[in-house]
């Protein structure tokens, strides 16, 4: 009975909610993060996603305590941690280069944090054995890290971070040094271990696919500012602005105009009813975003010429050209993905086809693409 209570207490106490309130990071005169707020729930897998230099790692290191906080507060379960040094914050961190201590064996690496917590020898032994089994590296316990592969080192780093039952688990691009296949394998390991331990996790990556797969919620960042926070599916389906729609997945951007009601007209005359479009007065200029897989080929639609084709097995991605006036300038490529499971035939390069956007899936933005005009879009989903 008593043992059970202790165990429950531990689980309850271990993990915390993180509250980031208007924090500012400056390096000299350069402001990297100009006032950022965020709520991360207890036990959540939360990802900071953005291109390099967007401030995601900076924010992570502020939570860890390796970067100072110039203004604002970060709290764990309501109590501010700004002035608590990193070694007293009880965090587990997995580093991009793993940061395994090269002079210690796998077991000694994992023990390191436990020894500092003055646990008994048997307790340490048991905890280390358990965690090594959980991440499946028990047979390498007595090896030195230099004789481990990248994936194995990654498992040691993960075990070492979670064995101390940290309040939060922080991961800084943990998979970026692994090859593609191992990356897929390890992200499943990380996700399943996180689920089993149930620990609040903040995960930093620039890989949008990785973020979509592992996260409960994602914060998309650019220039130190959060662009959107939400579940992977809703960020993909209803991006809050043009940046999010092109950074996560691919979006083709077209100039269009509102006709009143839910109807829009593309440059060139093609009209479409978009049932999810919000209130927009007739005549307003718009930008319509269509993902490559949201086109369907039919009799009526936007006329495009095929300029290239990439065969990917399940589908073919065609590069398209449209009349210049129709397209938002500066797009790297305009694409249409043809699902081969239902396609009647493949198209030839040079062929002209007409493509109709899926009215339920289309996203419509203000002309500067700073804001979505769709109903149900959530800039900050809790």
């Amino acid at each position: 009975m008593r043992a059970a209570r202790v165990f429950i207490l531990e689980v309850v106490q271990v993990s915390v909610a993180i509250h980031v309130d208007n924090v500012v990071k400056r390096y000299g005169s350069a402001t990297i993060i100009p006032g950022l707020s965020l709520d991360i729930k207890n036990g959540e897998f939360f990802t900071l996603l953005g291109p390099s230099g967007c401030g995601k790692t900076t924010l992570l290191r502020m939570i860890a305590g390796f970067n100072s906080i110039e203004d604002g507060t970060i709290s764990f379960d309501g109590s501010p941690i700004n002035n608590i040094p990193a070694n007293r914050r009880n965090i587990g961190m997995v580093f991009q280069n793993y940061a395994i201590f090269p002079h210690l064996t796998v077991r000694q690496n994992v023990e390191y944090g436990l020894k500092l917590r003055k646990l008994s020898k048997e307790e340490i032994r048991k905890k280390v054995d358990d965690i090594l089994r959980l991440v499946r590296i028990e047979e390498y316990a007595n090896r030195l890290p230099e004789r481990l592969s990248g994936g194995q080192q990654q498992r040691v780093a993960l075990a070492r971070a979670i064995v101390i039952h940290p309040s939060v688990l922080l991961m800084d691009e943990p998979l970026s040094n692994l090859d593609a296949k191992l990356r897929v394998e390890m992200r499943d390991v990380i996700r399943s271990v996180q689920r089993q331990v149930g620990i609040t996790t903040v995960y930093v990556t620039h890989d949008q696919e990785e973020a979509l797969v592992v996260s409960d919620r994602i914060a998309v960042m650019k220039g130190g500012v959060i662009q959107q926070v939400g579940k992977p599916q809703s960020i993909y389906a209803r991006p809050a602005n043009g940046f999010v729609s092109t950074f996560i997945g691919h979006s083709n951007l077209f100039h269009a105009r509102a006709r009143g009601g839910q109807s829009i007209e593309f440059e060139g005359g093609f009209r479409l009813e978009a049932p999810e479009l919000g209130e927009v007065s007739a005549g307003t200029a718009l930008v319509a975003a269509v993902r490559p897989e949201e086109f369907s080929q039919g009799a009526e639609g936007l006329t495009a010429k095929i300029t290239g084709a990439t065969f990917l097995g399940k589908y073919v991605t065609y590069a398209l050209s449209f009349p210049e006036a129709l397209l938002v300038s500066g797009q790297p490529s305009i694409e249409y993905s043809q699902d081969l499971g239902s396609a009647a035939r493949l198209f030839e390069v040079g062929e002209e086809i007409s493509l109709r956007p899926n009215p339920a899936k289309i996203n419509i933005f203000t002309p500067d693409m700073e804001q979505s005009l769709m109903r149900g879009v959530q800039k900050y989903a809790r």
Binding site: P85, A99, F101, G113, L116, R160
Partner: protein, 552 residues
């Protein structure tokens, strides 16, 4: 946090202590040297007379010219010997390469004045070679080993290994693909060497040349033993400082100041150039040695064997001489251990001192190396920056000048250190510090800061992290550097010869004294012990590190 916050921060306290230590043992002595060079010997009034005296009398300023002449010639010669050697050893398969490299390192590690003295034994007035040429070949006049030529010979043979080491290090870092890229663009042969390889190794060669320049300029023993009438600056400073007749500490101080200014200028000029064009390279595919045959192979091998043979001759001479039967200055026929018996009965304390001072210095050097490297790499702030700069100072201070500065500074109350073992240990530590620090910092740069952050995130305090992770990871590298420091420390002469007293003399000082007294047998025996210690230390170094290279 709570309950512990009143404890002073470890690194801040350490920074404070280090600033104090360097202020006391480096800044203060140098400042007093500088100031006393502007004072009149008798009246202690402010004056420029010392400098005026130096630049108005040919006797003095010619020594500066001599120093420059020797140093410039030596630097050029070592570059022209060292670079081809490095290229041959890297690009071609050389027979006996391992042995040759060890011989090069031994000749680099042993003190220059032993070279000078054994060349006197060979080619001096009563030298073996001289007699051989005169008696067997019947030639009347042989080229004199004394003076400019002798100094040049000894310095070149002792210092080319620096260029060799630097150049081969740089060549190993050049990826084959760079050369291949040049070739694919239509640039081959000598043009490739001139446009790709030479520019890539030039900054490194310059750093090596500076080292040669500093060593040649500062060396005191060689010109003293073999220079005879050819006076160089260190000789002049030494005789002015310790001279019984008409010597003046103030005048010596002003000459020392002139020397420090010159070395400082050289140092800054080199830094300026290297900073502008230096490259970080690491070769995934370094150059592979190629097989050579025929006449090419013969000349390459002959060149290497002759240079390395010449540079190892002094060691062999000394070892051979130490076993000769001798009666003070006169060598008797046959072999005996009489020289060794004599040094153990008369000079035992010099041997003990060498090892004791050496060990204590190394201990201090390792600790300071760990701490200062950490402070200046990881805890960069104004004060650690000051420490970092200060520790580079000894690099430009010739040993004899350092000896004088310490003696001038600690000869009086409140802190009298002259004549103690401590002042010798301090001088050894200071002299070796820049080298230790550079290698320790390099090791630290190899260690990713996230290793320390990992330890901190697991709950270890930063200080605990330093001792349990960082220091442990640095230690193997620092210790292997310490073995090399140990070798240079036990062979040190130019500052100890000024600081020693009867109770604190070391082996190299004793060798020097014995040579001056013309007691060649005992000198050779002592020098052999030094060489043996050096070789044993090198073997330990190789065994411990598994490396085949030595970085200075």
């Amino acid at each position: 946090m709570r309950g512990k916050s009143f404890l002073p921060d470890f690194w801040k306290t350490l920074t404070f202590i280090l600033v104090l230590v360097f202020a006391l043992f480096l800044v203060y002595p140098l400042a007093s040297l500088f100031l006393s060079s502007f004072k009149a010997p008798e009246t202690h009034a402010w004056t420029l007379d010392n400098f005026a005296k130096f630049f108005s009398r040919k006797f003095y300023y010619s020594a500066l010219g001599n120093s420059f002449l020797v140093t410039a010639c030596v630097t050029v010669l070592t570059v022209f010997i060292g670079i081809p050697m490095a290229y041959f050893m890297t690009a071609f398969k050389i027979r006996g390469k391992t042995v040759l490299e060890i011989l090069i390192i031994i000749s680099m590690m042993s003190p220059a004045f032993i070279g000078a003295y054994s060349w006197v034994l060979l080619g001096g007035r009563n030298g073996v070679l001289t007699k051989f040429i005169a008696e067997v070949l019947g030639l009347e006049s042989t080229p004199s080993i004394y003076g400019f030529g002798g100094i040049l010979l000894v310095f070149t043979l002792k210092l080319y290994p620096f260029i060799y080491m630097y150049a081969s290090g740089a060549l190993k870092k050049i990826d084959v693909s760079l050369g291949e890229a040049a070739e694919s663009l239509g640039c081959g042969g000598l043009r490739k060497v001139a446009t790709i390889i030479v520019p890539l190794i030039t900054p490194t060669i310059l750093a090596g040349s500076l080292l040669v320049f500093m060593n040649a300029l500062a060396d005191f023993g060689t010109p003293m033993l073999i220079g005879e009438g050819f006076r160089t600056m260190p000789v002049l400073i030494y005789s002015e400082f310790v001279g019984e007749v008409g010597g003046s500490a103030n005048f010596a101080a002003s000459m020392a100041t002139i020397m420090v200014l010159i070395t400082a200028l050289m140092f800054i000029a080199q830094k300026h150039f290297v900073n502008k064009k230096s490259y970080t390279m690491s070769a995934l595919r370094p150059m592979q040695p190629k097989e050579i045959t025929g006449i090419k192979s013969f000349f390459v091998h002959a060149f290497l064997f002759v240079v390395i043979g010449l540079s190892i001759i002094p060691q062999l001479t000394v070892i051979y001489t130490s076993f000769l039967n001798t009666n003070q200055a006169i060598f008797l026929p046959g072999f005996s251990l009489v020289s060794y018996k004599m040094i153990f009965s008369n000079l035992g304390n010099a041997i003990a001192n060498t090892y004791l001072f050496g060990l204590l210095s190394i201990l201090a050097i390792v600790l300071l190396g760990l701490f200062i490297a950490y402070l200046s790499v990881r805890r960069r702030n104004f004060f650690t920056g000051v420490i970092d700069t200060l520790t580079m100072f000894p690099y430009i201070i010739p040993g004899s000048v350092l000896g004088i500065t310490l003696l001038l500074a600690f000869n009086d109350k409140p802190l009298i250190l002259s004549g103690t073992a401590l002042i010798i240990i301090i001088s050894l530590v200071i002299r070796r510090l820049p080298y230790t620090l550079r290698s320790s910092s390099a090791i630290l740069y190899q260690i990713s800061p996230s290793i320390e952050e990992a330890s901190i995130s697991l709950g270890a305090s930063p200080v605990m992290t330093f001792f349990r992770i960082t220091a442990v990871m640095m230690l193997p590298g620092v210790l292997s550097g310490a073995i090399l420091s140990w070798i240079t420390v036990i062979n040190e002469l130019s500052s100890s010869v000024i600081l020693y007293t009867a109770g604190t003399r070391t082996m190299s000082v004793a060798v020097y004294q014995e040579v001056v007294r013309a007691s060649y047998g005992t000198a050779a025996a002592l020098a052999t012990i030094l060489t043996a210690t050096t070789v044993v230390s090198l073997i330990v170094f190789y065994k411990l590190t598994g490396k085949k290279e030595v970085s200075v």
